[in-house]
Symmetry: C2
């Protein structure tokens, strides 16, 4: 088969990636620009329009977990199966970041860093993990892994998703009805929702007003989940005491954005769970093999649902 590799990688990374693919799929032909004869497209933030004019295309395999950016491309072929990346290594990396953020908030390490900058030595209260209530929004692969990791550390973890989902050791709810109670009870809210038309602007003034006063927000999903002006207002009023933000509406975050030097905001450069090409390539290759052998494709995106 002919495999188009379309990414925004730099030349070295792209060459290394194609070497990895060739090693695992020695019988396929790899091309870097469309010549019309393409069976599979393996993509990572491809340029808009890169997948047009490929009548024989049978699979679009993304190397990224989120499909929202691909689905926003109006030229994306409509009837070709689209698979997103589900990689246990990436789920673990995301759970590490969630756990680091929760430990940092629970044990006041962001506050101690501020004290260090001010040459200030002062102990702050140290509750037990079971006295800290964490809400994970979104119970896909990443949300479930994060919730179970946090629960195994003794945190009081709840989970919420749009559809009913069960997670071992985690109290879950779904739909609008279950949301208000969970939002009001959480000390720390972790966003791992998929970005869809329904979750766009999820954290607006009305939802932020439902948080427990002084709660913290950890956004590891997409920048467009947050209405930035509303979050800044909630930080100013003290409704939200700290925000850990890995994702932004414009990335890189513009140099003049108020988040950069806000004392209650931790800015990460979309680093919560980078794709590890070693393991992600293996996951992509498994789907290409399934296609060749006529087996079912894994991790297909439901375009109606948006993830």
């Amino acid at each position: 088969m002919s495999v188009l590799v379309a990414t925004d990688f730099d030349a070295d990374e792209q060459a290394g990636f194609i070497d990895l693919l060739r090693g695992l799929l020695p019988h396929e032909r790899f091309v870097q620009s469309s010549d019309g004869e393409v069976d599979v497209a393996i993509v990572a933030n491809p340029p808009e329009g890169a997948l047009q004019g490929l009548p024989g295309l049978k699979l679009i395999q993304s190397m990224w977990a989120g499909a929202d950016r691909l689905l926003r491309d109006p030229t994306l072929p409509k009837d070709v199966p689209l698979a997103r990346m589900v990689d246990p290594a990436m789920n673990r990396a995301m759970a590490e970041t969630a756990l680091w953020a929760v430990l940092s908030l629970h044990r006041r390490f962001f506050d101690y860093a501020a004290q260090q900058r001010a040459t200030r030595w002062q102990l702050l209260p140290q509750p037990r993990a079971d006295e800290v209530s964490v809400l994970v929004l979104g119970l896909g692969e990443m949300g479930r892994t994060a919730a179970m990791t946090l629960a195994s550390h003794g945190y009081h973890v709840s989970g919420w998703s749009t559809r009913e989902t069960n997670v071992d050791g985690v109290r879950t709810a779904h739909g609008e009805a279950g949301l208000a109670t969970l939002l009001a009870a959480a000390d720390i809210v972790i966003n791992l929702l998929p970005l869809t038309p329904a979750t766009q602007g999820f954290f607006d003034a009305s939802r932020l007003a439902r948080l427990k006063p002084g709660a913290s927000l950890v956004n590891l999903a997409r920048g467009a989940h947050v209405v930035d002006a509303d979050l800044l207002a909630a930080l100013a009023s003290g409704r939200v005491s700290h925000a850990v933000l890995d994702v932004f509406r414009t990335e890189p975050l513009p140099a003049d954005h108020p988040y950069w030097h806000h004392p209650a905001v931790t800015v990460l450069p979309h680093a919560a769970a980078q794709t590890d090409l070693r393991s992600a390539t293996a996951a992509a290759v498994a789907n290409v093999r399934a296609l060749r052998e006529g087996r079912p494709l894994a991790n297909l995106v439901d375009r109606q649902r948006g993830y």
Copy 2:
């Protein structure tokens, strides 16, 4: 029995502590200064000399895990059993801090914080946890809990102690012979050794020179384990890339100490594992009951060994 409570708590904390004790030990008499008739002393950093002239003293129960400060008091009664605090809640708090420090170093969150201060957006490498080698020095209650917690997260964990100790899932060694190899292999070294004459100044120039170039040091034990001038030199040369320091030779850390504003040093105010009076009081009370009922006392310090 008559119980002397000698601490450096402020008046409110002392009153709350005695209330807790009274609730659990309704038959004992509590005094706050020595009247000679004292059976048990419950202490937390008592003023030097506070335990002199108590001929009937049968147990000194410390609320702190480390006994080094008590043992340095030349007026400490020599033949009275001395128990230190062993509290599962404190062990868990220490493991949380160790895990936070390891996650912060492994996933570069200290570097991302520096980037945020510089308005800089740049992804840094993201190795898997099993590619990060962590060495825990000291395998007492706290060291073991920290090592097992880190191993359960997928880190490659080794442990070292002066005497042979086994820890599930952790490769251990003991004595000088095993130390050099482990020091040279670790990306992150966590110090949880007891402070004794033998471990005083443990991290001096010669030991720091054995670390893997660019390793990080996390000192959660005692400030006197580190020769500060030698650590500052190792940070300057790049042998040590980052130090997380919770403990110092003088506490609070003096305002003019170079650690405060060193870009590669994270200063914490002896916050890694505060005594949680709720659970620690229960542990102390268990020993007082054992004394009253003639059962063996727990967590006695071996004064020869120093812990």
